[in-house]
Amino acid sequence: MKRTFNFAKRNFIEMFRDPLSFIFGLGFPFIMLALFAIINNYTNGNTPMFEARALVPGVMVFSYSFIMLLMSLLVSKDRKTLLLKRLYTSPMRINEFIFGYAIPGLCLGFLQSIICILGGLIIYLPISGDYFTFTQSILLFVSQLPMLVTSVFLGILFGSVLNEKSAPAVSSVFISASGIIGGSWMPLDTMGEFETFCRFLPFYPSVYLGRILVEASHTNGEKYIFDNIASLGLIPIVVALILSVVLSILAFSYQSKKD
């Protein structure tokens, strides 16, 4: 436990001293919210996707993919510099490595979520006079935790199996995918079969769940409700969570022997 904490502390410092963490992890979500608020303003509110209640859950899920990128970079760099090789000869165990990486990733994710929710409040409240309540904010925060955990462990997985050049490349595919198939800023509810396809992956169901909790509206003006799409959407969220954790542990363990 003590070693896990000490390793997590090192990783936390390592991440927070890297400007990339601030640019992509913390600054980018705020910039995106501001950008979409401006677009929404110039379209006279005719883009429901860019209203705060619909947009903030989407930006949260999208932003977690940057946590995945940062995690994959951290792990792959530690492999490249042989820092991990040195630590493999120490009494540290695989679970201590995994949680030592996951804890700072989760902390960064918590901060990112808070920035998304508070950023949305700062940007949208003066413009539209409408924002979700404190309770809804807490519920939104909690509802997105499985997706955050999935992203952190996917980052560990990619960092374990890919080198420091290919890890960001593969992560960027996921970043794009989570933006598009997560429906963060695309009206998936008008896209028929494409929306059906997106329900099988965890991004869209997670955004959907968040939108229900903050009482967002569909493109046609109807409120998001806990319907069949939401209940069945819990399956890919849970499956992705379990798979990412299990696969990252297996991959890290395998790679520790191979490195």
Binding site: R3, I13, K85, L87, S90
Partner: protein, 237 residues
């Protein structure tokens, strides 16, 4: 007492034989050199001895511990400074030492003595990534000593360093001589000659010769260690 005892060690990576029937022993306190050209099996041998890689056949004992049965015990008494500097780049020199001390549950007094031994005071608050190659290597070896290992593996410790930085590290390594057992791999013949009590020459996974520098030179009737090394390796090509 033998710090390391290796009997009939074999390691294969798919079809490539990395180590072929290697047997050797290293006495406690000895500075033991592993010499060989690229692909000779030096790093593989170090990886097996430090528990990073599993052997296919043979027996390895670190002091009285059998590597197959007591790897966790062995991990408490060894440390390694790998080929790359393997330090945390965004942590300062002191934070690096503190981090590794926390992993081994070592008290801060130990860090202070290491800082003084390695004369790290002038760079103590500098981030590791801003250090020169020589300082990074120095820090890397200092980190390896935080756990007070009985055996220290130094894999190409001076690779890529300029002459002055290399000589500087030699002094540090020589200051450790006799205090702990050191296994050092190197391409540089003059480094092995200057530092090591005993040398093993490896080529294509086979142990060709083992002995002191003088014994190896005498063995092949050569005047220089370089000539002896070349002759031994070429004879076995």
């Amino acid at each position: 007492m033998d710090a390391i005892r290796v009997n009939s060690l074999k390691k294969k990576f798919k079809k490539i034989t990395a180590l072929d029937d290697v047997s050797l022993s290293v006495e406690e306190g000895e500075l033991f050199g592993l010499l060989g050209v690229n692909g000779a099996g030096k790093t593989t041998l170090i990886n097996i001895l430090s528990g990073l890689c599993k052997k296919n056949e043979g027996k390895v004992h670190i002091f009285d511990f059998d590597i197959d049965k007591n790897l966790n015990e062995i991990k408490k008494i060894i440390d390694i400074s790998p080929q790359e500097t393997s330090v945390a780049p965004n942590l300062t020199v002191k934070e690096n030492l503190k981090f590794f001390a926390s992993i081994y549950d070592v008290k801060e007094d130990k860090i202070d003595s290491i800082i003084s031994t390695f004369k790290l005071n002038e760079v103590i608050n500098q981030k590791a990534k801003t250090l020169s190659g020589g300082w990074q290597r120095r820090l890397s070896i200092a980190i390896a000593l935080v756990s007070s290992p009985k055996i220290l593996f130094l894999d190409e410790p001076t690779l890529g360093l300029d002459v002055l930085a290399r000589r500087d590290l030699w002094k540090i390594i020589l200051s450790l001589k006799g205090k702990i057992t050191i296994i050092l791999t190197s391409h540089y013949l003059e480094e092995i000659e200057a530092l090591c009590d005993k040398v093993a020459i490896l080529s294509k996974g086979k142990l060709l010769k083992i002995g002191t520098i003088e014994e190896i030179k005498k063995n092949v009737n050569n005047k220089s260690f370089e000539d002896a090394f070349v002759e031994i390796v070429e004879e076995n090509q």
